[in-house]
Symmetry: C2
Subunit: 686 residues, 2 copies
């Protein structure tokens, strides 16, 4: 039963058991269950367990099964408690009230916020003043409140952003009609403020008081803004699609090259366990190639999406799409033939209802193979013999929807022992209103009256390496020109210079110096190269956080300050902006953690159990081509062996043959012509 251990996922029976124990703990308080997940086993327990497993030995001592449960107690939903439930001993190990913290977004509550907005008389009056077309259906989109220092963050506050649709179709693109209105809603579902959204550089705020004239100058909806099918993406609202794209199918006559046992995946010398949780979504564990340990765990750890517009209330638009929303909860149910091509294996995830019952998230991860062009080729120019192999990759993909946006996350495993992590951003831009004829320095006008604000997407990829063991180091290598001297009279010489990072810190990229980050194991020397075995990071070059470091955005998303971070492994440190990002005030992130440990033994990272975090993303200044639905914007991060193996790990991939690949020759319309091209005489102009 090698490698069938589901040590990463809570089982449904465990989830039921944990809920029962927690219900017993709070018999009168009707807990609202936010999280029931496995507290992943302590690494100190896992290492000997995995070692035995990989040696094929049996063990009776598996790591303890502990559930991490988060509940909200009480009607006013202000007592937020985390419990660690020992599932072996059926007892509570730890219980802690998370004072001042808020759980991730509760979609039931968000729907209640939307309803509260629409039922508020002041909101209704504002909508009336907008003089919308008779067929307008107003839609409220509830967003978590990004801390801006203007309210007490110990209470949950939600922002309602208003849109409408004019077509009687629930899939009409209401983002095409951002309304000049915004509401602030209290924990108790009261509308506490209404904003008219700014059009010029001034801020306008209206507090709803009984004697307040709602509006001095009503700003009726501008009829020039009525859009057509050009703002729709739903096929029912679009003209017939182009018919020029002919079908394209992937056939695998002998089936896929991968096998799965539970959440264990085996493919082309790779083995790994797939994990899934409400927050990170897809996670990878115990990743090995040819039975050599590479990575203990890889996951997307956080994503921050701040908008650029400094006018009130836009600084409140800044989403932690993992911490606030959850990449697991928001994962799409992937559909055969749509989200992947070829032979597809799906994995389900599990979550919990507010009453603590397990709920299945079906098909949240898909696993399939892709052809990836040429893996390697050489033609001996003396014999003209060409040897070419095609590259096959294994793709593990998950797709999430966070309100308007979609993110497609895919790990690509290569036969050359490389891993690439590809992120595609797609979906719909978050829009705000702009008056016809106005200009605005904070966004692109993608349709008349529709401003798509500039914003950033900053991702944190958490890489917990275990290259030939758990004590690894981070090496920084640069390539620098040699000075012109007696060793370098020609002036063409260059060399590499490297250093190993001693203490926890953040570091920056520099392509001008070919700065390369390598994770190495100093205890294992490659016998041929004479250097430590390693993997190098192929970073995505990205602008870091633009918000001021002392702004709330800056303090809340510390990981956005540097592209590469190295920390000592800690069983409770998974999230570079802290575990609780909802309305956080900062100081809970990776930089603070490092600072708190600085110059203690715990901050030493050389030849230690380390974690490397890569911050990347995009400053997304929208193009009109991103409207009404964005073509995928790709970002790719890679991990490649660097003197880890004894040669090209894909050297033994079979050469490519027509017998296997069954390609089809296409003749052009002039294929029978002897000329290299069409004949000039036949072109009619001679």
């Amino acid at each position: 039963m090698k490698n069938r251990v589901c040590y990463l996922l809570i089982q449904t029976d465990e989830s039921i058991q944990a809920a029962a124990i927690v219900r017993d703990e709070f018999p009168a308080q009707n807990p609202n269950f936010r999280v029931i997940t496995l507290k992943e086993p302590a690494k100190a327990e896992m290492i000997p367990f995995l070692d035995l497993e990989h040696r094929g030995e049996k063990t009776n001592k598996r790591p303890a099964r502990i559930a991490r449960v988060q509940v909200v107690l009480g009607e006013t939903a202000n007592k937020f408690v985390e419990l660690w439930v020992d599932l072996d001993q059926t007892c509570i190990l730890q219980k802690q009230e998370l004072l001042g913290k808020h759980p991730y977004i509760d979609s039931d509550y968000m729907q209640a916020v939307e309803k509260a907005c629409m039922q508020d008389p002041n909101v209704q009056q504002h909508i009336a003043n907008l003089q919308l077309p008779a067929n307008a259906c107003v839609i409220v989109e509830a967003w978590a409140y990004a801390t801006d220092g203007l309210n007490d963050m110990s209470k949950r506050i939600t922002m309602g952003w208003f849109y409408m649709r004019l077509v009687d179709d629930a899939d009409a693109n209401y983002y095409a009609y951002p309304l000049d209105l915004c509401a602030e809603v209290s924990e108790e579902l009261k509308v506490t403020k209404i904003y008219r959204l700014p059009s010029g550089p001034d801020d306008r705020i209206y507090e709803p008081r009984p004697d307040d004239p709602i509006h001095e100058e009503p700003k009726p909806f501008d009829r020039r803004k009525i859009h057509g099918a050009e703002t729709e993406y739903s096929p029912g609202l679009r003209p017939s699609p182009r018919t020029s794209t002919k079908p394209y199918q992937v056939i695998q006559p002998e089936g896929p090259s991968f096998t799965t046992h539970g959440n264990f995946v085996e493919w082309e010398k790779w083995t790994m366990h797939i994990g899934f949780n409400y927050r990170e979504g897809l996670t990878l564990h115990d990743v090995r190639y040819d039975n050599r340990s590479l990575f203990y765990r890889i996951s997307l750890a956080e994503m921050f999406v701040p908008y650029c517009d400094p006018r009130t209330p836009y600084p409140r638009k800044a989403a932690f799409d993992l911490g606030n929303d959850g990449a697991g909860i928001n994962a799409n149910n992937l559909r055969l033939g749509c989200d992947c091509l070829g032979h597809i294996k799906y994995f389900d995830g599990w979550h919990t209802t507010i009453t603590g019952d397990p709920v299945k998230l079906p098909n949240v991860v898909c696993c399939h193979e892709q052809d990836d062009g040429i893996l390697w080729k050489h033609t001996n120019f003396r014999t003209q013999n060409a040897v070419v192999t095609r590259s096959r990759i294994l793709v593990l993909q998950t797709i999430i929807t966070v309100s308007n946006y979609e993110y497609i996350f895919a790990f690509h495993f290569g036969q050359d022992a490389s891993i690439h992590y590809e992120v595609r951003a797609t979906g719909i831009l978050s829009t705000t209103p702009i008056d016809i004829g106005d200009k605005c320095p904070y966004g692109t006008i993608v349709a008349p009256g529709v401003l798509a604000s500039y914003h950033q997407h900053l991702f944190s990829l958490r890489i917990d390496p275990s290259l030939d063991g758990h004590n690894n180091s981070l090496q920084v290598e640069e390539t620098r020109p040699m000075p012109v001297n007696s060793y370098n009279t020609s002036g063409v010489g260059f060399m590499t210079h490297s250093s190993i990072i001693d203490h926890e810190r953040g570091l920056d990229l520099n392509f001008k110096k070919n700065r390369t980050f390598k994770i190495i194991n100093e205890n294992v020397i490659n016998p041929v190269t004479g250097t430590p075995v390693g993997f190098k990071l192929l970073p995505a070059y990205s602008q870091m956080l633009l918000a001021h470091p002392e702004s709330y955005h800056g303090k809340r998303s510390e990981f956005g300050a540097h592209a590469v971070w190295v920390t000592r492994y800690n069983d409770e440190e998974y999230f570079p902006s802290g575990r609780h990002t909802m309305q956080s005030s900062g100081g809970e992130g990776i930089a603070t953690a490092i600072q708190n440990r600085s110059w203690t033994e715990e901050s030493s990272v050389r030849n230690k159990d380390i974690v490397v975090w890569h911050t990347f993303g995009s400053t997304h200044n929208p193009r009109i081509e991103d409207w009404p639905v964005m073509p995928s914007e790709k970002m790719v991060v890679g991990l490649k062996p660097a003197n880890f193996f004894m040669g090209n790990p894909g050297l033994d991939v079979a050469v490519s043959t027509q017998e296997q690949n069954q390609s089809v020759l296409v003749e052009g319309d002039d294929s029978k012509s002897k000329s290299s091209c069409c004949k000039l005489e036949s072109l009619g102009f001679l």
Copy 2:
């Protein structure tokens, strides 16, 4: 007959005609034909011609047909002449001796150099001193001489680098046995110098004089260096390959979505002409989307590969793989089912023999489609309706072999009107000897006794834009944080700042400022965004040339100093290191051309017919995983519309359906289990 004009390629009958005219010009001199190609029509002639063609109008006035012919005259091959032959008037328009220039590499001559090396008694004595194994077969690889100031460059000099193979198979990897020997060969095929290659930091040079003891300390071949199959890539010399990779085929039941007429390609709203010449290989012309003009011409214009080792004679290793070798001449004959998958259309190229006869280069370009994952997706979280389209791309690919290395060049056209240019480097590392036990700061030991030197690959992609017309501009945009002030009290604001380049120059990348290069047409304003229509460059972030700017490498490859260059279009300016790179001494490149024009009207590039050149590549410090044959190393450059269209150009792509895509569901071994995962109880450790 719209779009069937082969204005880019010389026809075989034209080539024969040009050769005859040139032979008549030199009746007694037996010209060695190096080049017969079309001198591409002057743009001033082409523009009105293309305009008529795109309006569907007939014209009797097509651009003049002119051949560019280069010949070498005389036995000693030192008179190098270029002729422009008017094929309509059958006369010579221009004839110029190219004093001090050398033609690109003559493979017949290089074979003669190899032979001369092996026949030289001193070389033979050196080889004898190496005491090679009895079955050794010595191989000489002739390389063009990179200028190092140590010889008169008006004469052709060639370097012979020595290897051997121990296996009686012509496809054995002789790069696994670099020998401690190197020869310098004169134009007249005499070995003029012999070098023992350095092992430590010292340089050692031996001039073969009659009284010279060949070698004080013979350095016999070290028997520890005998390698096994781990250094071989040829299937005949390798153990059986892995069998885990199951077949994977692409089926297009209705055939491909592209059509071709001669070298004209039409696919998914894209149209373009494919060109091909001995030097650049694949070129693209008159690239349009939805019948809007985008690019007049796109081509790889140069590639420079300098090695880092400053020890004599290694500074001579620096190849202009286009200027010296030719991407057209060295293009592979692509084979069905090996180099691409699916429905493949091949294009042939044509070149000339030394006697002036046309010679076909078969299947040098392949054209096919690929699935490229998801083009766009959105799930309406309110209705849970997901709309997903798959991305199809058109790939135009050519692969070249330059001695040890392979380069795979592919243009990818997207349904979202993007173009990506993907370069993959593969093949075999250029190796030099190193004594067992020695270390060396200039490379990686990839096998015992085999050093793979650090080197750079610098590519120059020439982009001649014609966005809605020929007068375009280069705009540089940065995204910068706003100062914290009364407009930005929260400190989260950021904005873009842009400027338009006025004069020809080189520019650098800066991801920290999100510096974005846009080619725009200031005369055409997008009616929605209110900004000029444009395309943005997605650069490949790369270290620029490491050699000192005043070194020969630096002076010869001026384009390597900056990542982006903008110049005024000039009918004769195609090559950023000059037209003749063989043994060039510098001062013929893009920087010199700009300097020569600086501050004249001709250096103005705002709203003019401009060319944008992107320098990118890699500093390749080999890994052992690149041995004995390199897994493809990808570099990608993109061009994407930026407020050019009125919305997502791929919005009308049909949604993805299982009916079309015919994917296959894979059940895991536990697919019948009701659990989310395998059951803990069944794992044997409870």
